[in-house]
Amino acid sequence: MIRFDHVCKRYGEKEVLSNLSFEVREGEVFSLVGPSGTGKTTILRIIAMLDNPSSGTVMVMGKDTRTPDALRVALRRQMGMVFQKPAALRGSVADNVALGLKFRKFPPEDISRRVSEVLDLVGLSGYEGRRTNTLSGGELQRVAIARALAPGPRLLLLDEPTANLDPVATEKIEDLILSLNEKSGITIVLSTHDMAQAQRLSTRIAVVLDRKICQLGNPFQIFYQPVTREVARMVGIDNILAGEIVANEGGLASVDVSGVILHAPSPLDPGTRVTLFVRPEDLFIGKDATAGRSSPRNVLPATILRLIPQGPNTRVTVDAGVRLTGVITRQSCQELGLSPGMTVSVSFKANAVHVVPVEKAG
């Protein structure tokens, strides 16, 4: 659907995208994830041909985007874009939603029918006559989505579609994105800084950090097998440990992490310096090492350092020779009677540890 081939983008001296190559497949929900100011918006603007790459090639729907204006318009008419801060034109909601249809010369009776349909889709039935300057931020966002959807695009570009919305509105928009993709097979490229949202929506995720795509994969790969420390931090892996493989028996490696031996699956040879990633949810914390668990490979005695409530859960930081953070439900925290200074046992399966050699981990 979309292919970036060695794309660079500079604004004057400042490089915004550095040698980017990736592909978006037809029918997928593709998320660009990363902190703000890393080039996500620029990628979307290049796809919509609002900006041109400084070098490299961008193909959209099999066509090179470096093409005369008339062809660009034809290509753009198969996509819809929703900007992070959508702008509405003066006039009514219906005027705004109808704009793309008018540009495409739809007959007037089709326009009014289609406008009602898409407003219904975004949950704004009956808003046709409202002046755009009386809309709230969330309403404006939804009008912008309706406006982009009205002409029935094959490709939808969404720049931070829920950044300005409350949780209820966010959920509605996420549902809409999923159902559009499932029912109409629209390819969706969206940018977000919300990792959890990317995980909920995406077929594949591209982590954009420092002008580059650091990792591209399905949500499982991104969340459980990050390739670098930076990606791991972004996806909420608190436990990032540096160590060295000391033994490897048939794919089960023993890793020395500042004196503590951990077990993890890895094909790497002894002597390799590695980084280990362990998700806090995969840590089991209890008074008794094996309580409720089937023989975890890694069992460590530990002292509780800190307990931090987090929604329905509690984050537990412990010293087990290495510092580890786990998440347990608040209820089990109370049942266990955890408190700082207490001695506990931390355990996790070998499979919960993701091993990356240091060269790649940067």
Partner: protein, 228 residues
């Protein structure tokens, strides 16, 4: 002092009694200046659009010249058009000197820079985000330009109203090109100038009040448009 008071009393009676000469001069003034504003708009808005949407060398300089011409003295505009339309001038064969049509041309020339400038201001008032939206929605270049002009319409109308105000209140071009011929090219401003010099203070005051009244209507209209 008495003379002024008498003048105002007579002026009121001239207006209230709908004096035919007063009415005729007022109607002609409105007609000529409205026509001039229409002609100027037809030239200035597309021209402003062209300058705004095209990139070319010397664009900044051209805009500065246009802004300088906001203050184009009315007599200079009058002189310029007089030279064009005079018998020996390049457009002399049209025989438009000392005619209402000639005055329309003169006033149009006078306010075109103002209207071009106001169109430019109005179009740059349309945010980049809006034009991005329009392009992303699949507009061709022509559609995008028309939609952006439409988006700027209230600001452009504001400029048109200002231009009309300048046209109807100017005396230099009207005098030089029209010649202040009674019943043919005499308008409010030229009539005031003449009647005052002839000592017909009452008529001058009456015409002056009408002119001020028109200025007030223009200002109110501008206010309403800018409130939108």
């Amino acid at each position: 002092m008495n003379e002024i008071v008498d003048g105002f009393v007579q002026a009121f009676s001239l207006i209230i009694s709908l004096d035919p000469e007063v009415l005729e001069i007022t109607a002609r003034s409105l007609l000529i200046s409205l026509a001039a504003t229409a002609v100027a708009s037809l030239v200035a808005i597309p021209l402003g659009g062209l300058i705004h949407f095209r990139e070319f060398g010397g664009k900044r300089g051209l805009i500065t010249i246009i802004q300088t011409l906001y203050a184009l003295p009315t007599v200079v505009a009058g002189l310029f058009v007089f030279l064009l339309l005079s018998r020996a001038g390049p457009l002399g064969f049209l025989g438009l000197l000392f005619t209402p049509v000639g005055m329309v041309i003169g006033q149009a020339v006078l306010i075109i820079p103002l209207l071009v400038g106001m169109t430019l201001v109005a179009l740059s008032g349309v945010k980049r985000a809006i034009s991005d939206e329009i392009v992303a929605l699949g507009a061709t270049q022509t559609q995008a330009i028309l939609t952006i002009i439409r988006e700027a319409r209230f600001a452009i109308i504001g400029g048109i109203i200002l231009g009309f105000g300048r046209a109807i209140s100017e005396v230099g071009a009207a005098m030089i090109i029209g010649g202040n011929i009674r019943g043919y090219t005499r308008v409010l401003t030229t009539a005031i100038a003449l009647e005052t010099s002839m000592g017909n203070i009452a008529l001058s005051i009456a015409l002056g009040m009408i002119l001020l009244g028109i200025a007030m209507v223009v200002t109110v209209a501008l206010f309403i448009v800018q409130e939108r």
